[in-house]
Symmetry: C2
Subunit: 334 residues, 2 copies
Amino acid sequence: MSAPQPLTPADQQLVDAILAAGAAQRRALAKVITLLESTRPDHQTRAQQVLDTLLPHSGKAIRIGISGVPGAGKSTFIEALGLWLIQQGKRVAVLAVDPSSTISGGSILGDKTRMEQLCQREEAFIRPSPSAGSLGGVAEKTREAMLVCEAAGYDVVIIETVGVGQSETAVAGMVDMFCLLQLPNAGDDLQAIKKGIVEMADMVIINKADIDPRATRVAQAQWKKALHFVRPASPHWTPPVITLSALHKEGISEFWAQVDKFCAALQSSGEFAARRQRQAVDWMWSMIDAGLRQYFHRHPTIRASLPEISQAVAEGRTTPGAAAWRLLAVLQHN
Amino acid sequence: MSAPQPLTPADQQLVDAILAAGAAQRRALAKVITLLESTRPDHQTRAQQVLDTLLPHSGKAIRIGISGVPGAGKSTFIEALGLWLIQQGKRVAVLAVDPSSTISGGSILGDKTRMEQLCQREEAFIRPSPSAGSLGGVAEKTREAMLVCEAAGYDVVIIETVGVGQSETAVAGMVDMFCLLQLPNAGDDLQAIKKGIVEMADMVIINKADIDPRATRVAQAQWKKALHFVRPASPHWTPPVITLSALHKEGISEFWAQVDKFCAALQSSGEFAARRQRQAVDWMWSMIDAGLRQYFHRHPTIRASLPEISQAVAEGRTTPGAAAWRLLAVLQHN
């Protein structure tokens, strides 16, 4: 691999500010993430150089994913958790993957009035979802922002996502522990099972347990049953189903006790590191697949013949196999 | 697109025999499918030429997919259905997609003693699953065999699959109507919901309804509830949940009445043809994706640098994005 390019003085200053953990750190962090999210080629080159420089300092945080439908109380929970972690002497970064952010301008973390208390703490860094074109783009930027936050010494990185499309799969593919935040009512479990999200869950949290304790107990039992049907994500961990009230800040320490237990179980078995390695390689492959598609579409000969060949396939004048073979042959004879 | 090559006299004979619907038809059909399944390049070239010649004669059958776990009674049901269809004056082809066939030698349709009565009818053509290397390969060969059966004038093509991995998705992607064969016990529904199969179902059939009528009614209600949670595959069709006993040949005509209703609903809305077109184009794209991966892996520069770059990604020395970009750049500068 090629040696990293030297940084510009301005970028070196950004890197220094991020690694120094001083007063200028959070502003530098925000600037680097903005650079990462920029689509300008010169920004991209600079951003990747900064990232390469910071990379050896990343990897020390615990990465936690929080997913839930709108109304499940994600921001209330993350704020309560963040404040509690700060009390324990930890620094917390909160990022988001919101695939709808391109259209709506962001349904999560876009609103400054959310997590109002956490926002004001200097031990916290909160960043809304990038609004790149595709889910893959949004998720990639968030993953890179996570690495920058780790280099800045944040102890916990929380990645919030709303249960839309494949965003949960993307987030589960970048965190150490993936948690589902649920409401105490039936139906939710079926939705999650249907979409194959339950297999990815390392923990299920039933929020708003104070409102209806009976419904909460029913939901907890249903979730335990649902988890029983699926193979757990890890052979060293049985996903617990816990109940709490984020609004009343009840159950937060119990939640974190489970996080600690999870980390201990996976670290002692070596799975913690293995999972991160696998995630990084899987991530590379999904980016390669996306890049190959793009490469294919940009090829002038393919672009010229694709409409006619697609039409022939749709009309049954040629088989999908023969059409694919003809198009791919263009690349071979390049 | 290039003009089709002339057929060899032997292959022309195969084509003639298939189109003639005479006594030699079934043997010619078996020979062409064997040719399609062969991995020898000269066989592949000949097979594709034969397929191109037959293609204009394909597309007139109803394509039905039947999926279910081992023990659900798939072969008993297909035999009962096949015999009933023959009674109605129809000719029936039965094919299979069994991704385990490479390892085990085939768990479905491999055994000659299965569908014993249907085997003996000259109005039926039964073919076990091909045993190509990957699910994609197995499914592609089955899809091509289906087109050959259609050219031979079979009125109904039934494609059987066992609920392993992604085989259901592959079969749902090549048939007009995808049916789930289920046993009257709880738990099955959760498995299917979990794997996202319910969304693909155009009909759910609860078999062995004679054994426990009460459990059958419970299962039927559960399935209706489960289907209620998912968006139906077609806006013009609400998937029914029917009960029958394949062993006692009860409920077969009711099953077919639903097939007729389904075809009428989708044909009048134009969705029947649109779905086939979409399936063919999707099929082409999945083969292109597979081909692009293969192309990528075969590139000598990529093959040489992949192990080191993957290792660097796994160890966090480079980001997945930067690694993907470096590998893809090799193709660009080719």
